[in-house]
Symmetry: C2
Subunit: 439 residues, 2 copies
């Protein structure tokens, strides 16, 4: 026997995918998409804010007039036209020729997800350590766990990633003899916290990584969705070397086209292209033409302002509702941009255990545990404000507050439920003692 | 130091991507796309045969009328609507409910490339052996080499994969103590040879794999592009278990949308979805809606006939031109469908070494070496007939024949060039001695 049975194979697959994100969130979204449920769970942009008729006309012409190229195969790196436009977009954030940004070093990807997956594919061997904020983007955990990397969370506060904690994590890894491949970070309007790494900390984090010879993978899907003026310049705008910059048009145009990109160090750009060709052959020529034409012929800077304005209003609605309605002991972040608020529940509440009751009360959120690789986050929830309109946000927060009040009352009468308490204790332990991931 | 410098990293990447297909073909296509060159090198469908105005109108409406879903995020597995249509398409080839095909077990992918990549991602550990026809699809080699698998080619003849050679390869691998993960095969109108596995051999190959406990990954992008009635039913139509069926709309509709699929054994379908989510989050909702609407509202069966008729005419033009113009000693396959003819050059000619002279004579092809993992194929070329019109095909073959005559004349005067001869010898050695890959 040179092969094995399908059962053997299934066991093998099970081993290979065990680490992957088990999309609790996917199951959750199925429930949350029922119309009677106020979903604060998603991360979807408010597509209705787009001029859909004009976009439709543009997309139709792309096939009718240019179908011989837009419906055909393209090249693995993506079209030069789109890569030039991408450089224009990045220059708004200060990533420009001055810091070595060039269309030559841009690789077009299937959304931001493939961007990170390609970097992981090139870098990671099983057992490698990757640093990431704690909490971090659930899809990044999916990529990193699929690559069999170990994610070590570096704690954050209201100013973002804590530089001292990063230094400590580097020292811990060195002591444990572990190989750290890169820092994955979302410095601006982070998912899930909405927190932005301050100007001063950006320099410190870069210095620390430079000293440690640690590459930085900067994920910046939200940077252009600020409500209070410009965000601090991206890390890539400050350093020519050692930073991979990933972004996407999913939040600034439309996620349904799946167009993202990597600005890569020149030395590895070609390897990323080869890796992408092995994965998807080439990105969609049609989707690329759609984004290129959108950026060339439509008022995309004004559309950014529209998105910002819609989201700012909804962020305000959410913060007001939280302030008015949340039970005592609840705290939350106050983001200056992006799509999310991160709330910390009153002591003793378990966000995952509470989910069924929240769904019964017709409100959905994402439990904090989804954003940690180590079981932390039971005391947290992520709330989205980009998709539901202001009055639905307030209604959702009202329902959620009701569920939380009931939970608190039940705890007073019956004490903590065994499972919940254990879950919470694990979460707290991991959060209180930085670095136990390497134990 | 817990990390390393960018130079160290670059060395590391180099190691990790060394196996990947170094897209000689990509560089080649850049040259071949110059208008004065007759390119027989590509694998592109003839998009101009589509009713582009009607397709454009449909695509425009998808955004204008349904943008709130088509431009939004979707789910990892792909929409149920599209998966239902895909089952309808597969039922034309005999893959239907009778053999357990269900929308539940379909996973929508970014073209056929991601389909194979996902299977590889679940199955393959570095050093695993995968069997594939010799020659095989260059993009499959890219996936398998990126997964650090070892491809062992199983020889073909005019009736497809040779069952006895497959048995021998299985026995060789067993003797060498190598772990074989699956057989990757394109049984119908194969790329690059155009050869179709006969009815009788399909059963034998399936029996052999079943006995050996070897999974089959059946890639079928061309099955519906037959010129002489229906092809033998796919392997998946004959076996409910143990066969992954991969296909794509790239050849039957349009590659620019990048929509393909896997029909997976139920036991692993969910794991493929999780792997795909880690890679791309979800396939494009817009591209999926485009294909769904195309299959629901447009005469796609008639369009298939149009493609078949165009390609049959071009295949005829190519076979006629080859018969009229090729130097003595040249042989070629006579495909009943698909996009390609595979030619064997007169003894002593080297298809790769001859390329610069062919380009100078304004004709392009793909050297056979691109379709082998082991250096074979120097005596072969792949010729595409789907894209250039008949008169260009004849002109291309005429130019190619001229280059070959010159090569033959030069060889008569000067003898074989050292580099060429060595390359050819390596290729022959690998082809003549089945199984040396495991040595």
């Amino acid at each position: 026997m040179t092969g094995t049975t399908l059962d053997d194979y299934t066991d093998r697959y099970a081993r290979r995918v065990r680490g992957m994100t088990a999309s609790e969130i996917r199951a959750l979204f199925a429930v949350a998409s029922r119309p009677e449920v106020v979903s604060l769970a998603g991360g979807a942009p408010y597509i209705a804010a787009l001029p859909l008729d004009a976009v439709g006309e543009m997309l139709g012409r792309l096939a009718a007039d240019h179908g011989h190229t837009t419906l055909q195969y393209g090249i693995g790196q993506g079209t030069l036209e789109l890569r030039e436009r991408i450089c224009e977009v990045m220059s708004l954030s200060g990533i420009d020729v001055g810091c070595g940004a060039s269309p030559e070093d841009v690789v077009v990807t299937v959304g931001g997800q493939q961007a990170l997956d390609l970097v992981a594919r090139l870098f990671l061997d099983p057992g490698d350590v990757v640093f990431a904020e704690g909490p971090t983007y659930v899809g990044a955990l999916g990529v990193l766990q699929a690559a069999q990397a170990q994610v070590v969370h570096v704690p954050m506060d209201a100013e973002g990633l804590i530089p001292e904690a990063l230094e400590a994590a580097i020292a811990d890894a060195a002591r444990a003899g572990r190989r750290v491949k890169f820092l994955y970070t979302i410095p601006t309007y982070q998912n899930p916290t909405g927190v932005t790494l301050t100007e001063e900390r950006r320099e410190r984090v870069l210095d620390i990584c430079e000293r440690a010879g640690l590459l930085v993978v900067e994920d910046d899907p939200y940077g252009q969705l600020g409500f209070a003026g410009d965000a601090p310049a991206p890390l890539r705008a400050r350093r020519r070397d050692g930073v991979f910059y990933l972004s996407t048009f999913s939040k600034t145009f439309a996620p349904g086209l799946r167009v993202g990109w990597i600005l890569a160090p020149h030395a590895v750009r070609d390897k990323l292209v080869i890796a992408s060709e092995a994965q998807i052959l080439c990105p969609s020529a049609y989707a690329q033409a759609a984004v290129t034409t959108y950026l060339s012929t439509m008022p995309w800077r004004e559309q950014l302002k529209v998105y910002r304005e819609v989201y700012r209003e909804r962020r305000d609605a959410m913060l007001d509702a939280l302030g008015d309605l949340m039970p005592e002991g609840t705290t939350w972040t106050e983001p200056d941009g992006g799509l999310f608020v991160w709330a910390t529940l009153p002591d003793g509440l378990d966000s995952k255990a509470m989910m069924p009751r929240a769904i019964a009360a017709r409100v959905a959120y994402v439990p904090g545990t989804g954003f940690y690789a180590n079981g932390s986050g039971a005391g947290n929830i992520r709330l989205n404000f980009s998709f539901p309109p202001p009055e639905r946000i307030r209604e959702g927060v009202r329902r959620l507050a009701g569920v939380m009040e009931q939970e608190i009352a039940m705890r007073r009468v019956f004490g903590p439920v065994a499972g919940q308490a254990a879950g919470r204790r694990r979460g707290q332990a991991a959060a209180d003692v930085p670095g136990p991931d390497l134990a």
